[in-house]
């Protein structure tokens, strides 16, 4: 690690230490997956607090309000943010998905209108991709968009589902079918739509956790301005896939810092209640530790850039397994956490540390479903990583 990077690391950890306290103290380690309903308003204030110190969108180009950090520096930022207990970022869909997509593929006007709000932590986004009949088979979206010939607006009818943070957002990016009768990934449009309008209704879904991170979003004559189409009408799939390309990311190591914290909680709980003397549980805790270490090294392989420009295909393999590996690790870890708690796993705890473990047990069931189910991930690994025959797809 260079001296510059070490200094940068110290700067972030120092800033977090100085700022994640007082009114924000209660946000430490809160608001992650499974805990997204924790202090939403305060977390939005925290986003703005981060923004004032220019700690949002740190990888974006400076002309759009970022710091243009190198990948290595971004990794350091995410690690130190997580290590300090930085709360789950309400703005992460804007910062990591739609923002980079607009920077790469949006119009100049779209960049001017949307990027500043994302950077400032004042404008929140959610993702309108999945539908009741378009989950793993995303190309089957049926939400329709037709152009109002009078004003040029797009009028949208249909339904989206599993929309994370819809009830905390002002904007949604929507993948819809704009060419009647088209099938699969042809004839789609990518729209930016304000959620606060008469034709849109957000209904939170009560999950098995009892909480509601995900919502259904209903569109009934909802409107998007023609200027808010990203890319060309009919070519929305290209934009949608480019956006998913930004999903794989540098925040991975930050996520692992959260996992590390959870593992520390499990170890502490096991020592406190005697589970640490149970050989089977010791074995599983050690296995979890090893899995986390492998995950960390795997991320470093995935993010590796060769000093002399040699291309190493192994880095791609590391990337291909990443989502499947972390999500299954975390799901197993959730079960381990509950087993360590034993009888107490079933009694909603008032101890934040134990409550966190209870949340992990339940929410980690979603990890292997969202962002590509286990089954889809294995197809992708087999087809792209091993060159095995592709699944039959209906002709477009």
């Amino acid at each position: 690690m260079s001296e510059d990077n070490a200094a940068f690391r110290a700067e972030i950890s120092g800033w977090m230490q100085d700022n994640l306290q007082g009114e924000y103290q209660c946000l430490r380690h809160r608001g992650g997956p499974g805990d997204e309903d924790a202090h939403p308003e305060l977390r939005k204030q925290w986003e703005q607090h981060l923004a004032r110190a220019r700690w949002t969108c740190v990888g974006w180009p400076e002309q759009y309000g970022g710091r243009n950090l190198t990948p290595a520096q971004q990794v350091i930022f995410h690690e130190e943010y997580a290590r300090a207990g930085g709360p789950g970022r309400v703005g992460h869909l804007g910062e990591t998905l739609i923002g980079p997509t607009l920077i790469a593929l949006g119009s100049e006007e779209q960049k001017q209108r949307f990027l500043p709000g994302i950077v400032a932590g004042t404008q929140y986004w959610c993702q309108g991709y999945s539908e009741p009949n378009a989950g793993s088979d995303l190309g089957n979206v049926q939400t329709k968009a037709r152009q109002d010939e009078a004003g040029g607006d797009w009028i949208v009818d249909g339904q989206k589902v599993w929309t994370s943070l819809a009830h905390e957002s002002q904007w949604v990016f929507v993948l819809a079918r704009c060419e009647p009768g088209s099938k699969g990934n042809k004839g789609l449009i990518f729209l930016l739509m304000p959620l606060d309008q008469p034709g849109i209704e957000v209904r939170p879904i009560k999950q098995l956790t009892g909480t509601s991170e995900f919502s259904e979003v209903f569109f009934d004559g909802a409107r998007a301005r023609n200027a808010d189409v990203v890319g060309a009408p009919g070519a929305g799939w290209k934009i949608a896939m480019a956006l998913l390309g930004f999903e794989r990311g540098l925040s991975t190591l930050g996520q692992q810092a959260h996992f590390e914290h959870e593992l520390q909680l499990v170890c502490a709980a096991a020592k406190a209640n005697g589970a640490a003397r149970n050989p089977m549980l010791r074995n599983r805790i050690a296995q979890a530790w090893m899995g986390l270490k492998a995950m960390r090294y795997n991320a470093m392989r995935m993010l590796a850039t060769s000093p002399d420009g040699t291309v190493d295909g192994a880095a791609d393999n590391a990337g291909l397994i990443a989502k499947y590996y972390w999500s299954n690790w975390h799901r197993d870890f959730g079960k381990l956490a509950a087993d360590v708690l034993g009888f107490d796993a079933d009694i909603a705890s008032t101890e934040p540390a134990l409550l966190r473990l209870q949340q992990v047990f339940f929410f980690s069931r979603a990890d292997t479903i969202y962002a590509g189910t286990n089954e889809i991930q294995l197809n992708i690994i087999a087809e792209r990583g091993l060159g095995m025959p592709k699944e039959a797809r209906p002709a477009n």
């Binding site: 690690m1 170890c267 096991a270 020592k271 640490a276 003397r277 050989p279 010791r282 074995n283 805790i285 050690a286 296995q287 530790w289 090893m290 899995g291 270490k293 492998a294 995950m295 960390r296 090294y297 795997n298 470093m300 392989r301 993010l303 590796a304 850039t305 060769s306 000093p307 002399d308 040699t310 190493d312 192994a314 880095a315 393999n317 590391a318 291909l320 397994i321 499947y324 590996y325 089954e375 991930q377 294995l378 197809n379 690994i381 087999a382 087809e383 990583g385 091993l386 060159g387 095995m388 025959p389 699944e391």
Partner: protein, 379 residues
């Protein structure tokens, strides 16, 4: 820490693969398995003398190449992939670190140049019974007489016992401390036999010592210092063994993919069945995760971490790689169907090696307990 391979490292890996594809083909492995020594002397000569593989991790002062643990890992991975039958692991991956870590400069000066030059093979006994460093389970005894020691005792499981030119053997001193001795295979009173092992790709055997005379200068280290250096050396060896296992696991996946692509049932390649695709994908997940753990451990080892950290890195790499290897070997038998159960096809060679090596330098359960003790305290 950047995880990309530089061009020298890719070259080391690719050159090794190209050499072994021919020198350690399935036919060559089977010939070596059937031979008395367990390896092809000509292949070994090329590998050790011309290609200087054993010199990789030996410092330049001892006529080695002075490269890091990482380059050894790249070679070991290819050895595992091609099921190389040779004294490479016991010599370069186990005994070289033992000689270096015990830090006896005179002994290093005596033996390492010969090993680097490919004219001497070596092995190390780790206890009376097994293949993990357990100083408490050393049964052999050493008695000092003037300028030499007399060693007597037995070691039940030693890699390449009957072929190694130099044997590094622990023995108990009268005061109860354990010491490590460098003993020539030709020393009077030393006898070695080869076990009838199921894994024929790597020989183990028993060593007996009957009043073997060893110069005092060949006592490499003893007591706490020895224990510490053996733990470090065994961690290095475990990382190399883990790399071999990753290579073996990769071979299991590759040969399975090749077989199922050709095999047709119900009018289609069985590789097109999702049940098969998912099982192969799962193999790849475990292989890549283990490879990441091994590469990470090797890169950490090169930074000379503290003893505890090094031990944990090695435990993680070895446990994940051992488990991945056995998993892929058993999947490979299953996915080959009937022919996977035959002697003719190669899956069983990996299956046997995976099981045997899985217990060397700590079984996965033992290694997890080492990690658990660090996280949770002793049980």
């Amino acid at each position: 820490m950047d995880f990309a391979l530089n061009s020298d490292q890719t070259m080391i890996r690719d050159t090794a693969a190209a050499f072994l594809a021919d020198a350690s083909s399935s036919a060559a492995v089977r010939a070596a398995m059937a031979g008395a020594s367990g390896f092809d002397a000509k292949v070994w000569q090329t590998l050790a003398q011309e290609l200087a593989w054993c010199a990789t991790a030996i410092p330049e002062e001892y006529e080695g190449l002075g490269l890091a643990c990482f380059e050894t890992v790249l070679l070991a991975e290819q050895c595992g992939r091609f099921l190389l039958c040779a004294p490479y692991f016991a010599t370069a991956c186990l005994s070289v670190p033992v000689l270096l870590e015990t830090g006896n400069a005179a002994a290093c000066g005596r033996y390492l140049p010969q090993i680097a030059g490919g004219t001497l093979t070596a092995t190390t006994a780790l206890s009376a019974t097994g293949l993990d460093w357990q100083p408490g389970k050393v049964a052999a005894a050493a008695i000092r007489q003037d300028d030499h020691y007399l060693l007597s005792g037995a070691y039940r499981q030693v890699i390449d016992a009957a072929t190694a030119g130099l044997l590094l053997l622990p023995a108990r001193l009268p005061g109860g401390e354990t010491a490590l001795f460098a003993v020539s295979a030709t020393a009077a009173g030393l006898s070695a036999t080869t076990h009838d092992t199921f894994d024929r790709t790597r020989r183990t055997g028993a060593v007996k010592l009957d009043q073997v005379r060893v110069d005092a200068g060949d006592m490499l280290a003893c007591g706490e210092a020895l224990d510490k250096s053996m733990q470090r050396a065994c961690a290095g060896a475990a990382i190399a063994l883990a790399a071999e296992q990753v290579g073996g696991a990769q071979a299991c996946l590759d040969m399975t993919l090749a077989y199922i692509a050709e095999r047709k049932q119900f009018g289609r390649s069985i590789a097109s069945f999702q049940a098969i695709k998912h099982r192969c994908a799962e193999m790849m997940v475990r292989i890549e995760a283990a490879r990441s753990a091994v590469h990470g451990a090797a890169r950490q080892a090169a930074t000379r971490p503290g003893d505890a950290d090094l031990t944990l890195e090695a435990a993680c790499a070895k446990a994940l790689a051992s488990d991945a290897y056995f998993y892929c070997a058993q999947e490979s038998i299953q996915l080959h169907g009937g022919v996977g159960f035959t002697w003719e096809y190669d899956p069983h060679l990996h299956f046997k090696r995976a099981q045997a090596g899985g217990h060397w330098l700590g079984s996965s359960d033992e290694l997890r307990e080492r990690v658990a003790a660090n996280l949770l305290g002793a049980i």
